[in-house]
């Protein structure tokens, strides 16, 4: 469960000048796989995530999730936004249980799991705090917990750590590795950070801008479980060199 299939997907934004945000994307992400989508800003990687989330419709092609065409957003695909997008008027706890609540689940069904996830992201003592009272990293951890509580088959993450400072980003990456290694959900992770992509993913899809295309797919065969200590291993450096070379080539086009 959690298989994502893009078959010749294009997304064109109309307007005075047409923008080909996605051009003939074909990509399959297997169950439990962690795929990073790497590319410069404006290359369409967020658009790819948005159509997958069901926030936007594809212009052409087929987009399947576990064999079903995606038509709208839903709790089976949990999205983690760049700026967390928490409800500022709800406490941390209320944010985390928002999903189960609006889906009409009974309290005993979700409460233990929500508590467990809040604990997993280390925010139990902040359950009653409001989002404005939290740091960026803490907000993002709430954003992850509120999605995981719904037990999604896929996790779609749109540069979730992009707005964090370097140190917080490292600890969030470690947290995500720990969480994912426990849950084994399918993850599509959008980023422009090469280190982050290598550290986290099983496979990196490098995208180019206008038209948005996947120009290269690089399997990352670093041993699991990984941790941020992997960032300095020779294999890691080798992958980084390879990807940087690829990006430089596309720059000259």
């Amino acid at each position: 469960m959690g298989t994502i299939t893009f078959e010749g997907v294009s997304k064109i934004y109309g307007g005075q000048r047409e923008v080909r945000a996605l051009d003939d994307i074909s990509l399959t992400i297997g169950e439990g796989e962690f795929v990073a989508l790497l590319g410069p800003s404006g290359c369409g990687k967020s658009t790819l995530l948005n159509v997958l989330a069901g926030f936007e419709k594809v212009t052409k092609g087929e987009l399947l999730f576990d064999g079903t065409t995606i038509s709208k957003p839903g709790p089976d695909r949990g999205v983690v936004f760049q700026e967390a997008a928490l409800f500022p008027w709800l406490t941390v706890w209320q944010n985390v249980i928002f999903g189960p609540q609006v889906q009409g689940m009974a309290r005993p069904e979700y409460e233990p799991r929500a508590r467990q996830l809040l604990d997993l992201v280390g925010l139990t003592s902040f359950a009653d705090a409001l989002p404005v009272q939290l740091s960026g990293g803490m907000r993002q951890r709430v954003g992850i917990a509120r999605v995981l509580v719904m037990n999604p088959r896929a996790l779609l993450m749109d540069e979730p750590f992009g707005a964090l400072d370097a140190q917080t980003r490292l600890s969030m990456q470690q947290l995500l590795l720990d969480v994912w290694q426990k849950l084994n959900t399918t993850v599509l992770f959008v980023t422009h950070d090469i280190d982050e992509a290598i550290l986290l993913s099983d496979r990196i899809c490098v995208m180019s801008a206008r038209p948005g295309r996947i120009i290269k797919t690089i399997p990352i065969e670093l041993a699991r479980p990984r941790s941020i200590a992997s960032l300095t291993s020779p294999e890691f450096i080798a992958y980084k060199a390879e990807i940087m070379a690829d990006i430089r080539i596309t720059d000259h086009h």
């Binding site: 069901g54 957003p73 936004f81 700026e83 997008a85 409800f87 609006v102 939290l134 719904m150």
Partner: protein, 295 residues
């Protein structure tokens, strides 16, 4: 007062020991006291000058009574014996005040009940915006005074006419600000709620409405101010009680002292009702005021 309040403001430049010995609460109390002191300076000055300029009890050749006479008229209006006597205003202050306040309250409530949902609908949905917004924009420039003949013709000299005018006046700012708030809801909040399985109605109730509340409160404050304007206008013409009625009536019989006492009453009531709304806003929008633990 001035020397101690000087010290409060100087905590940034080296007098930390003096300041830190005060608790936050007493600091806040001092700040509040200073704000209040500053606020009364101007009205006090005006009253004093007015009093001294009008020696002999009045200004402008007997037209404008001095503050002491206004105060005396106010006192009798508020606390004098009711019923018989030569002064028909004696003891009727509270009753008239309550007449006006009740009309404003009812009209304002109607305006909220209609205005907020209509505003949300306009801000949230393109079809309702297309249907409702042009009509509202067409009606909005018609001043409340222009509705008076219509209101009297339709409702007669009755409470409902005044309430109609008040709700109409308060309705427009409430609707426009609510619509603006609903339009400006952060897109990712809506996407997040849809992603978590919320239906349209849930999104409206649990995301769009709370996210619009800051704008809604702006609309409420403006609307309430217009409500007070409307009630005075309506009472001057379309009903036979309330502060607006007394205002016009006192003018006709040459009781300028009552006129000014009445005006001051209206001002104070408007101020009080605005303060009540702001306090409610502070409670409801608590989430916007709290400071970060981090900073």
């Amino acid at each position: 007062m001035s020397s101690s309040s000087e010290r409060v403001s100087s905590d940034t430049d080296g007098k930390r020991d003096t300041v830190s010995s005060w608790t936050g609460a007493s600091l806040a109390a001092r700040r509040g006291l200073r704000t209040a002191a500053l606020a009364v300076v101007l009205p006090l000055a005006v009253i004093i000058i007015w009093q001294y300029a009008g020696r002999g009890g009045s200004l402008f050749g007997g037209v404008l009574p001095t503050p002491d006479r206004v105060w005396e008229a106010w006192r009798i209006w508020a606390f004098g014996p009711t019923g018989l006597g030569l002064n028909p205003y004696s003891g009727t202050w509270l009753a008239n005040l309550l007449f006006s306040a009740e009309r404003v309250g009812k009209g304002f409530l109607c305006a909220i009940v209609v205005g907020v949902p209509v505003g949300i609908a306009i801000g949230w949905n393109r079809i309702s915006a297309g249907t409702l917004d042009p009509t509202i924009q067409l009606l909005r420039p018609i001043p409340i005074t222009a509705w008076l003949p219509f209101s009297i013709a339709v409702f007669g000299i009755q409470d409902i006419g005044a309430i109609f005018l008040i709700s109409l006046g308060a309705f427009f700012p409430i609707v426009l600000n609510t619509a603006q708030g609903a339009r400006d809801v952060e897109r990712n909040l809506i996407r997040a709620s849809l992603m978590m399985g919320a239906g349209r109605w849930t999104v409206l109730r649990r995301v769009v409405l709370p996210a619009s509340l800051p704008s809604i409160f702006t609309g409420l404050r403006i609307g309430l101010g217009i409500g007070w304007t409307a009630v005075i206008v309506a009472e001057m013409v379309a009903v036979k009680s309330g502060l607006g009625y007394v205002l016009w009536d006192a003018y006709y019989v040459g009781r300028m002292d009552v006129v000014i006492a009445d005006m001051a009453t209206i001002g104070l009531l408007g101020l009080l009702s605005d303060m009540i709304i702001m306090q409610i806003e502070r409670w409801v929008l608590n989430w916007r005021r709290l400071q970060s633990y981090q900073s």
